[in-house]
């Protein structure tokens, strides 16, 4: 099997920002259990800035690592900056992913986008 980079292993073994934000004002969930990957992102937005972000993931090593690094990449960023994050940039930040993982397990930026959309639709008044 193709090896994970040290950075992927670091984020898998020591994931950052795992958990739930009880008073999140945006929540996004992507993937489905049938294909073996689900990611849920919780964001707390204040004055257009993501002040806190946490995740939960059901999935393989790559799924956990991409979720973890995504939270690091967007914490403290404005919504506009955060929306520029792509799956490719997430993979790059992890020093690459095995090709087979690029599509199935690299969903974290979509989960983040879903959380931002949720915030823009429903969360602003919270």
């Amino acid at each position: 099997m193709e090896e994970y980079s040290n950075k992927v292993m670091d984020h898998f073994m020591n994931p950052r920002n795992v958990g739930i934000i009880e008073d999140a004002n945006g929540i996004g969930e992507v993937g489905n259990p049938v294909c073996g990957d689900i990611m849920k992102m919780y964001i707390k937005v204040k004055e257009n800035v993501i002040v806190d972000v946490k995740f939960q993931t059901f999935g393989c090593g790559a799924a956990v690592a991409t979720s973890s690094i995504t939270t690091e990449l967007v914490k403290g960023k404005t919504l506009e900056e955060a929306l520029k994050l792509t799956n490719e940039k997430v993979a790059e930040a992890l020093d690459g992913l095995p090709p087979i993982k690029m599509h199935c397990s690299n969903l974290a930026s979509q989960a983040l986008k879903a959380a931002i959309e949720d915030y823009l639709k429903n969360g602003k008044e919270k």
Partner: protein
């Protein structure tokens, strides 16, 4: 890494035993002659091959002339299925197998289907064992071969070989069994069981990789798979892999020495581990029949988490195991065997297979049983599916 390796993946492959390794050594640099030559250097190699052939024949109660060496268990399976199909096409072009076979059988059958043959894949029951009546129902006038594995490689279930052997004998159909996981673990007598063809592989029984054998009962009509020179009684071409063949002979001799004692030892380890896992980890399912399974096989699903993550955390402690999750199968679907026993995809993704060998100690199993529950909780704490359940 300084950490000790704990190897619980003996269904994937095994360590070459020191005695096997030693038996192979002379054939790399001393008795390196081509077994097809007439001088003494070649005759030594030829003789060693014949001794190995005899050991294999003895281990399954076959005749020496019925054992043919191949390059792997996969090659043996390909040869059995394609060789019978093409040689008996005039009689019929229908094959029966099960939906939990190894890919070496399933993908060979798929290939035959693309070439005009018909294949029936009989589903197994929820316990991972095929019902012989379901096989009997599928027999047609043009059925030429029934191929059912002896023991499943993932969930370890033992198939009803006795009953299927009776059915094939009564109906004049050839019976092939992929016994790659069974040889050395279960006592096999090809005559008692009416087996016509049997595949085996060396690296599952502490022998080297890259060598296997196919047992072909005398009188069975079969075509060659590998064409070329006249080796293996003109049945399988290619200069013999002498050292590995010798290693296979030695490995099978050692593996069949004390099958009952080994089975007792492994069953104890297995039962201890299953009991502890079920007691200490909630939302856990044991896959495959609890009794009719290989002595050293455990296959378990931990709900709400994914298998590769479990393997990575076990690996960080030096423990080697495997999983039927999509990520570890290299495809988007989890194992076909776990789906065949009726598990939904999301549960099949959380599977863990542990396969013990006689080299494993009780201390190693204790170490696993101590480390596994916190690994499972750690992943569940991260899982959005588990949060929903807790609510």
């Amino acid at each position: 890494m300084n950490q000790k390796t704990i190897y619980f993946d003996n269904a994937a492959t095994t360590r070459v035993s020191p005695k096997v390794f030693k038996s192979m050594m002379p054939f790399f640099q001393n008795s390196y002659g081509n077994p097809s030559t007439i001088y003494s250097l070649g005759r030594e190699a030829r003789q060693a091959i014949e001794v190995a052939r005899e050991k294999i024949a003895n281990s399954i109660n076959a005749d020496k002339e019925e054992i043919f060496f191949t390059g792997s268990g996969t090659e043996s399976d390909n040869w059995a299925i394609k060789g019978i199909a093409y040689a008996n096409r005039k009689k019929g072009n229908h094959i029966i197998t099960t939906n939990i076979e190894h890919h070496a059988i399933l993908n060979t059958c798929k290939n035959l289907e693309r070439n005009g043959f018909e294949v029936t894949y009989v589903p197994v029951e929820k316990n991972g064992i095929v019902n012989p009546k379901d096989i009997l129902k599928e027999i047609r006038k043009d059925t030429v071969l029934i191929s059912v594995m002896f023991a499943n490689n993932e969930i370890g279930t033992l198939q009803p070989i006795v009953e299927i052997g009776k059915i094939t004998k009564e109906n004049g159909i050839y019976f092939h069994t992929d016994a790659v996981q069974a040889v050395g673990n279960i006592k096999i007598d090809v005559n008692e069981l009416n087996i016509d063809l049997l595949s085996l592989s060396a690296h599952k029984l502490n022998g080297p990789k890259g060598v296997g054998a196919l047992y072909i009962r005398k009188g069975v009509k079969i075509e060659n798979l590998i064409h070329g020179g006249g080796q293996e009684n003109r049945m399988r071409a290619g200069t013999e892999n002498v050292a590995s063949i010798v290693g296979l002979g030695k490995a099978i001799e050692l593996a069949t020495e004390d099958i009952e004692g080994k089975a007792k030892y492994l069953t104890n380890l297995r039962e201890k581990a299953i009991k502890s896992i079920l007691e200490n980890i909630p939302h856990t399912i044991i896959n495959g029949d609890r009794e009719r399974r290989l002595p050293g096989n455990i296959n378990v699903c931990f709900e709400y988490i994914e298998g590769e993550s479990i393997l990575l955390l076990l690996d960080s402690l030096g423990i080697c195991a495997s999983s039927g999750s999509a990520c570890t199968s290299g495809s988007l679907n989890p194992s076909h065997v776990l789906l065949a026993i009726g598990l939904p995809h999301e549960i099949a993704h959380g599977s863990l297979r542990l396969s013990f060998s006689k080299e494993n100690t009780e201390e190693e199993v204790d170490f696993l049983l101590e480390k596994l529950p916190p690994i499972i909780s750690r992943l569940r704490d991260m899982s959005p599916l588990y949060t929903q359940v807790k609510k």
